[in-house]
C-alpha cells in the first residue's frame, strides 16, 4: 500500500491499524518530514492532525430553518428572572408544588413568557406545566417532547384557531362558547373529537356540561361506545343529567334503591334517609369516587323529587348520614344548586370543599372560571378550620381551581394556615399560591413577620407575583 499521501489517507490507515495497512511515507504531506528523519506512524499522525486542525471542520450543507418566533408574548421582566430561577430551579426548589403552579398560572394570565436563556435551567418546570405555559415556551426543548399545544391569550381563541391551543384552553373555550352558542360549541367538539387523545376528549366532553340540554343527546349517545373508559363514564354522567333519558331514569332508580326512607321522632315524626353503599367499596377514596360518579350524574332536585321532598327537606332527612350528605353535595354541584351546597357547607360539612378535589371539578362539569367561583363561594362560605389544611389539599384545590381564589376564600385559607398547630413552609407556600393579586401585599407583610424558615418560599412567590402583575406584558 503506497498511496497514503494525504491526511485522509493517513487517517484511513491509522483507523485500520498500521499492522494491517502499513503507512508508506514517500511524498507524505509534501515536505512535512525532512529527508533522513524517521517516518514513524506517530509522526505521520501528528502531521496529519495538524493539517486537519488548520483546515476547519466541514460545515453542514444545510442548516435547520430558524423557527419563526410566533410567540408574541413579552419576555418576563429582567428583575424577575433570577427570582423565578430561585423559585423553581435547583436543588430543594420543587417545580411541581403549589408555588410553581401559581407561577405558571400567573405567567399565563398576564401573558408573559420565560426568557429563552433560562429554559435549560427551567426545563423541569416547563415540562411539568406545559399545559399552562404552552408549546411555544417549550420551543427550545421540544425536539423530542410531545406537542403540548400553542399558547393563546384567553380572549384570542376563536373557532378557527382553538384546536391549536393547549387542552385546558380548548376546554375553557368550549365551555365559554357553550354559554352563548351551545349548538355551535357542540358542533366544534363533534368535528375535533376524533382527532384528540383520550385525556383531551375527556376534557371536551366535560366542557359540554355547561348549558347541557336535550339537543346534546344524539351526540352524546353516539359517544357511548368511546374506547376510553374515562370518556364513556363522562358521557354516561352527562346523559344521566338529561331529563327524560333512559340513563337519567336508571341513575335515579339506582340511587333510590340504595337510599332507605324511614321515620324518626316521638312527637313530630320526620323523614329520615339512609344510604347503603355497595359492599365492595373499601376505604374513603373509592367511596368518594362512587358518590361522585353516581350523585354527580343527577341533580339534587330530581333526586329529592323521587322521594317526594324538596331539596332542603332531603338534606334535612339525610342529617347524620355523612356519606349521603356528601352525595347530595355532589348532586347539588351537578345541578348548580349553589344555595343548597352553601347550606351543606354552613350547617353540616364545613370541609365539603375538600371532598370535591379527589374527583375534580370537571367531573361535575364545572369548567369555566365563573362556575368555579360560584362553586368555591358556595362550598367555602366562611372560616376554614386549621385542621382541614395541609399543603397537599391546598395544592389540589389550586389545581382544581386553576387560579387564585376569590378574596374572601383566600383570606379564610390564609387565616386558617396561620392558626395551624404545625405550620410549615409548604403550607404557607400553598396558601400564598391561592392569593389573588389584591391580597398579595398584605400577605407579603404577614409573611415577613414569620420566621424565615416558614415564610421564605411563600415570600419569594409573592415578590414574583407582584412583579409580574405590576409589569406590563407588551408583545
Amino acid at each position: 500500500m503506497g498511496s497514503a499521501v494525504s491526511p485522509a489517507g493517513i487517517f484511513d490507515a491509522l483507523m485500520q491499524g498500521t499492522a494491517r495497512r502499513p503507512l508508506v511515507p514517500e511524498g507524505v504531506l509534501g515536505n512535512g518530514i525532512a529527508p533522513g528523519e524517521p517516518c514513524t506512524a506517530p509522526r505521520l499522525m501528528a502531521l496529519a492532525v495538524l493539517v486537519e486542525l488548520f483546515d476547519l471542520p466541514t460545515a453542514p450543507t444545510q442548516f435547520d430553518d430558524v423557527a419563526a418566533q410566533d410567540d408574541r408574548r413579552a419576555i418576563v421582566p429582567e428583575n424577575v428572572r433570577p427570582l423565578i430561577l430561585r423559585l423553581v430551579s435547583g436543588k430543594g426548589n420543587p417545580s411541581d408544588d403549589a408555588a410553581a403552579l401559581a407561577l405558571a398560572l400567573a405567567l399565563d394570565a398576564a401573558g408573559w413568557r420565560l426568557h429563552p436563556f433560562d429554559l435549560p435551567r427551567l426545563d423541569a418546570f416547563v415540562r411539568k406545566h406545559s399545559e399552562v405555559l404552552g408549546q411555544a415556551v417549550r420551543g427550545s426543548t421540544d425536539q423530542d417532547a410531545e406537542r403540548a399545544g400553542d399558547w393563546f391569550a384567553g380572549d384570542s381563541l376563536d373557532p378557527t384557531n382553538w384546536t391549536l391551543a393547549t387542552s385546558a384552553r380548548k376546554a375553557a373555550f368550549i365551555a365559554e362558547l357553550r354559554g352563548s352558542e351551545p349548538a355551535r360549541a357542540r358542533a366544534l367538539v363533534e368535528a375535533q373529537l376524533p382527532l384528540e387523545k383520550a385525556d383531551v376528549r375527556l376534557r371536551l366532553i366535560d366542557a359540554l356540561a355547561t348549558s347541557l340540554s336535550g339537543d346534546d343527546r344524539p351526540f352524546l349517545e353516539s359517544l357511548a361506545n368511546d374506547r376510553a373508559p374515562t370518556v364513556k363514564q363522562a358521557v354516561t354522567r352527562l346523559l344521566a343529567r338529561l331529563p327524560g333519558t333512559g340513563a337519567a331514569a336508571a341513575q335515579i332508580e339506582e340511587l333510590v334503591s340504595r337510599i332507605t326512607e324511614g321515620k324518626a321522632g316521638l312527637l313530630r315524626k320526620r323523614v329520615t334517609l339512609k344510604l347503603q353503599l355497595p359492599a365492595n367499596l373499601k376505604g374513603p377514596a373509592p367511596i368518594t369516587d362512587w358518590l361522585a360518579a353516581n350523585f354527580g350524574a343527577v341533580s339534587s332536585a330530581t333526586l329529592a323529587a323521587a322521594f317526594g321532598l324538596s331539596s332542603e327537606a332531603m338534606l334535612e332527612a339525610a342529617q347524620g348520614d355523612d356519606e349521603l350528605v356528601k352525595g347530595i353535595a355532589f348532586a347539588a354541584c351537578a345541578g348548580r344548586e349553589w344555595s343548597l351546597l352553601a347550606e351543606i357547607a354552613r350547617r353540616q360539612a364545613p370541609h365539603i370543599w375538600a371532598e370535591f378535589l379527589q374527583p375534580g371539578l370537571a367531573a361535575f362539569g364545572v369548567v369555566s372560571p365563573a362556575e368555579r367561583s360560584q362553586w368555591i363561594s358556595a362550598a367555602m362560605p366562611g372560616a376554614v378550620a386549621p385542621g382541614a389544611l395541609n399543603s397537599w389539599v391546598l395544592t389540589a384545590l389550586h389545581e382544581a381551581f386553576a387560579g387564585p381564589l376569590p378574596p374572601a376564600q383566600a383570606q379564610a385559607i390564609f387565616a386558617g394556615a396561620q392558626k395551624a398547630s404545625h405550620p410549615n413552609a409548604d403550607l404557607f407556600a400553598a396558601a400564598t399560591a391561592l392569593m389573588p393579586f389584591e391580597l398579595l401585599v398584605d400577605v407579603r407583610a404577614a409573611l415577613g413577620r414569620m420566621p424565615a424558615e416558614l415564610g421564605a418560599r411563600a415570600s419569594l412567590l409573592t415578590d414574583i407575583l407582584i412583579s409580574l402583575n405590576q409589569g406590563t406584558a407588551q408583545p
Binding site: E52, F117, R121
Partner: protein
C-alpha cells in the same frame, strides 16, 4: 475604586453544600454575635457564640471572599463564615467600624494570594506582626552555612537529573505505547482506552511526568463524552498532542526559551508562584480585567480545576486564565470571581509562546461591571486567524479563547454551529443543550473556548440580553 460587596449569589457558590447554608441561616441573628466589625476597606470580622464557652472568631475579606474561622468544622467555608458573609451581603445588620484585632492581622499575614488590604497595623508601622516571611528569614539565617547550602544544591541537582532521566524513560514508554496503539488501529481505541490509558498514566506518574499522565488519564472520559463517530479523530488529536509534547521535550535544548518552558510545564515540571513572580522576563500586564467566565471540572487526580477567564478590554483584547486546583470535597473555593465582575489587577503570565495562564501580582479591588460585555469588533475569520497563529506557535495548544462578533448560532439536527459567512464552527456536544436557546437570539457576539474541533460557548451578548453558560 468602589469595592465589591459580597453578594448572596457569591455566597451560594462558596457554600460547600445546602446544609451549610441552612446552618448559616440559623446564625443570622445579631444577638448571637458579640462582635461584628469592619475596617471600612473590605475586611469584616466577628465573634459567634457557639456551644462552647469561647466564641468562634471569623474574618472575611470581601474583596476575594477569603475567610478564616476558628471552629473545628471540616467544611470550608464553615457555617460561621457563611453567616458572616450573609449578614454583610444582606445589609440588615450594622457592622461597627474598628481596627482589625491581632488575630485578624495574624490571619491576614499568613494568607497567600490577594488580600483586601494589608493589615492596618503594618500600614501604619505600629505593631510588628508574625508572618511566614519573618519565619522564613529566621530559617535562612540558621542555614547560612555555605557547606550545607552546597550540599543541598548538589542534592537538588541530583534530584533534577534523576527526574530528567525518569521523564525521558516515561516519554520513551509513551512513544512505544502510541506506536502500539496505531499498529492496532485507533478505530477501536475507545473500547480499550480505559484500561490502556490507566496503565500508561500510572507509568507516567512513576516517571514524574504528571502533566502527561493527567492528559492520558483524562482521555477515556473525554472520548466517551463524544459521539461514537467523532471518537477516533479525537483520540488521534489527543495522542498526537501527547506525542508532540514528548518529542518537544526530548529536544528542548533546541527550542526557543518560551516554548521550552511551556513544554516543561506540559510535562509536569511545576513553576511556583514565587518563581513566577521573581522571573524578570515574565510577561506582566496591568489593567482592569473583566471576568468573562468561570468553569470547573474534576480531574482524575481528584482535584477540582477552576478556570477563571479574564479579558482586558482594549483595542486588541488580552485574555488570561487564572487556574486554581482544590481538593474535591473541600467545598467551593479558589478565587471565585464571578462573570460580570471587574478586577483591577496586575497579572503575570506563565512563560509560553501563547501566554494565557496567569497569576495575580497585585490586586487593587473588584467591582461589578457597569454594563454588559462589549465584544471587540472582530469577525469570526479574524478570530480564527488569531487561533491559527497561536496553533503555529504552540502545536499542542488545546483550549484557546475565541471572541467574535456577528456570529449566529444555527442548528443542523442535534448539532449546533457558530456561523459567520462560510465558517461554521461546531459547538461542543457537551454545550449543545445549554447553548440551544442562542439559536433564536439572532446575530450575537460570543466568547468561548475553541480547541480546533469544538467551540464551548461561555458568554454571549445578544438581542435578548446577556447569555452566560450555566
Amino acid at each position: 475604586m468602589k469595592r465589591l460587596s459580597l453578594s448572596l449569589e457569591k455566597i451560594e457558590r462558596l457554600a460547600p453544600d445546602q446544609a451549610s447554608l441552612a446552618a448559616a441561616k440559623k446564625l443570622l441573628k445579631p444577638s448571637g454575635w458579640p462582635t461584628l466589625e469592619d475596617d471600612g476597606d473590605g475586611l469584616i470580622w466577628g465573634e459567634c457564640q457557639g456551644s462552647g464557652s469561647t466564641p468562634y472568631r471569623i474574618a472575611v475579606t470581601e474583596l476575594d471572599a477569603g475567610y478564616k474561622c476558628t471552629c473545628p468544622s471540616r467544611k470550608f467555608p464553615c457555617k460561621h463564615s457563611l453567616a458572616l458573609m450573609w449578614m454583610r451581603a444582606d445589609g440588615n445588620v450594622a457592622f461597627n467600624r474598628g481596627t482589625p484585632p491581632q488575630w485578624v492581622n495574624d490571619w491576614l499575614g499568613r494568607r497567600r494570594g490577594p488580600v483586601a488590604g494589608k493589615p492596618k497595623a503594618e500600614d501604619e508601622g505600629e505593631v510588628a506582626r508574625p508572618s511566614i516571611a519573618a519565619v522564613a528569614d529566621e530559617e535562612e539565617q540558621e542555614s547560612n552555612d555555605p557547606a550545607a547550602l552546597a550540599r543541598a544544591e548538589a542534592q537538588r541537582a541530583r534530584n533534577r537529573e534523576k527526574r530528567e532521566e525518569l521523564v525521558a524513560s516515561g516519554i520513551a514508554a509513551m512513544d512505544q505505547w502510541i506506536a502500539d496503539q496505531l499498529e492496532r488501529g485507533i478505530a477501536g481505541f475507545d473500547q480499550r482506552a480505559a484500561q490502556d490509558c490507566a496503565t500508561l498514566a500510572k507509568r507516567l506518574v512513576d516517571a514524574k511526568a504528571g502533566g502527561l499522565a493527567n492528559r492520558i488519564a483524562m482521555l477515556p472520559a473525554q472520548l466517551f463524552g463524544l459521539d461514537e463517530q467523532h471518537r477516533s479523530l479525537a483520540a488521534a488529536r489527543a495522542l498526537s498532542a501527547a506525542y508532540l509534547i514528548g518529542q518537544a521535550y526530548t529536544r528542548q535544548d533546541a527550542l526557543p526559551d518560551l516554548l521550552r518552558t511551556d513544554v516543561r510545564q506540559a510535562i509536569g515540571w511545576s513553576m511556583t508562584r514565587e518563581a513566577l513572580l521573581e522571573d524578570p522576563v515574565a510577561l506582566k500586564v496591568d489593567g482592569v480585567w473583566r471576568v468573562l467566565a468561570a468553569r470547573d471540572e474534576v480531574q482524575p487526580d481528584r482535584l477540582r480545576r477552576i478556570e477563571t477567564w479574564l479579558e482586558r478590554q482594549s483595542d486588541e483584547p488580552v485574555y488570561a486564565v487564572l487556574i486554581d486546583y482544590i481538593p474535591v470535597g473541600g467545598g467551593a473555593s479558589g478565587n471565585m470571581y464571578m462573570p460580570g465582575e471587574l478586577l483591577d489587577a496586575e497579572l503575570v503570565f506563565y512563560p509560553s509562546p501563547v501566554p494565557l495562564r496567569a497569576q495575580i501580582v497585585g490586586h487593587r479591588g473588584t467591582r461589578a461591571a457597569d454594563g454588559r460585555w462589549q465584544c471587540a469588533n472582530r469577525p469570526l475569520p479574524s478570530a480564527i486567524d488569531a487561533w491559527r497563529r497561536a496553533l503555529s506557535d504552540k502545536p499542542w495548544l488545546g483550549d484557546y479563547p475565541l471572541s467574535a462578533s456577528g456570529v449566529a448560532v444555527r442548528s443542523a439536527g442535534d448539532a449546533l454551529f457558530a456561523v459567520s459567512g462560510d465558517i461554521a464552527l461546531p459547538i461542543a456536544a457537551s454545550s449543545a443543550e445549554v447553548a440551544r436557546p442562542l439559536c433564536e437570539a439572532g446575530e450575537l457576539a460570543m466568547f468561548g473556548l475553541w480547541d480546533g474541533s469544538g467551540l464551548t460557548p461561555l458568554l454571549a451578548e445578544t438581542q435578548l440580553g446577556e447569555w452566560v453558560a450555566p
